[in-house]
Symmetry: C2
Subunit: 326 residues, 2 copies
Amino acid sequence: MKIKDIGEQGLLKKLKSFCPHDIIGDDAAVLSIDPQQQLVVTTDVLVDKIHFSQTTTPPDSVGWRAIAANLSDLAAMGASPVGIVIGLSLPGNLPVDWVEQLYQGMSNLLREYNTPIVGGDICRSEVTTVSITALGQVDPDHIIKRSTAQPGDVIITTGYHGMSRGGLELLLNPTVASNLDRDIQNRLIKAHQYPIPRLDLIPHLWEIMDTHTITGMDSSDGLGDAVIQICAMSGVGAQIQLSCLPCVSIISQWFSSEQALNWVLYGGEDFELVLCLAEKTAKKLVEIIGQEAKIIGKIVEEKSVILIDGDQQQALNLTKGFQHFS
Amino acid sequence: MKIKDIGEQGLLKKLKSFCPHDIIGDDAAVLSIDPQQQLVVTTDVLVDKIHFSQTTTPPDSVGWRAIAANLSDLAAMGASPVGIVIGLSLPGNLPVDWVEQLYQGMSNLLREYNTPIVGGDICRSEVTTVSITALGQVDPDHIIKRSTAQPGDVIITTGYHGMSRGGLELLLNPTVASNLDRDIQNRLIKAHQYPIPRLDLIPHLWEIMDTHTITGMDSSDGLGDAVIQICAMSGVGAQIQLSCLPCVSIISQWFSSEQALNWVLYGGEDFELVLCLAEKTAKKLVEIIGQEAKIIGKIVEEKSVILIDGDQQQALNLTKGFQHFS
């Protein structure tokens, strides 16, 4: 059954179960924000064949990833989610089932955080486009900024990088994976299709921020991009130890070292956090998070971002990261 | 100059002046909501060739209309605007100038209400799509609902209807207008390209709501649609007096009576408010608003929505209103 067979009202009726507030249509939603907290809002637009494709992302994965990207933006600010608004542009000949699975994927991830879909809009277009706005709230003292990193801070990553890019590679070129263990393949593909935003860390970060500064952002546009952006906003530089990027050694078990390093630094969409804080506190945080977290370098006064490999150095190159319209 | 010539970062730099918060990119924005008030959120997606076109809407009008639609949704709830988030999908060969004018149009209307653009996302797509989310705030006692209309209430419209549809007709078929006064043409075209949401009425409605109930919604999907939706949500019916629709007599000076009635009831995009309230209070409100406002009928127990023309009656027909995917 296609969308054009049941029309706008028919589609809204089908999606009603995913939006108990009954406002997937044009109406406005009313939400309560904790009077002690500030509202945080973030938005992401995902376009068919650019951010997702039939080959690499089933519809529930498109929904999951769209939500993950927005919740990750909230986590990056230290905020907890309050509600989600969804704008959809859909071709009339898209199967209704595709849209239901999209919503199912969004709901599956949102359920983990008790976060409702509170509204949206649906209209016709030649290109499937999913536009998500996430609303969150944060105590003003717990807002994580990009601009407060200081020389002496160490840089930690909360998890592996390059995994999502590795999974994408397997989905695009299944033959490259013929010698790869099936479990490892599944793990990489899962990292690409069903990434987990790091909202789980927020209570720990709040606790640290009661007494210490944490600077940071998420790594949705790549680990390299995150470090460069933090340094630019804070007016500092960074030294990253290649040997400390745990993910490189992991990815390079399966792919070439050069490819591994490229994906780790520039692959993007791993939705981990990149945080800068005092070394002692950082070590405690890494211990709490577990073995996937690691101190990867330090903030320095000299304003360039350098990757150090033994006695060799190279500057991180943002143009290797994904850029739209390029 | 095309977007692909300057890339994503170049475009963001060009648009920076419209978003002092410096978060048109992927970041989240932080906003303060009055602790006494609730957050209201609404979203609208506009797609090239469906909601706007080169023939009928210059880029600044696309921006203006997108904002007007969302502010009108806030006004319909009794909310005042706090901030706007913009998601754009744009073809690489779109002129940069088009996007700047789009933002200029949005800014021109937002300036009237001191409402900032607080964030957004921009990405590449084959189809230009503008997705707007508006954030507002409202005192819980001042929320206007659709579900509280009661038999005995009268129905008022806050302004003319069918004007936007008339303007669209002039833009699509300039030859139909050859016998029309230039001033009148401009007025109709302005109603289509630069509609004014009725946020100006909100303080008056709040004052009334301190002691009386107001039920209502905006007429963005048509005056007929608004009355039908209010009746459905409130479990009541309505009688509309054709002779009381001031707009019909105005539009029919220039177009046929049948066309005029059709546009008034089903044209849509006039962004006025359709309100139900006790007759005495309604009369005072109409006086405050001025001659464009009018009592057009009343709420009744019998659940159908009837248009009365002398001794003739006909039921309003929602299928004549604009439906997506049909």
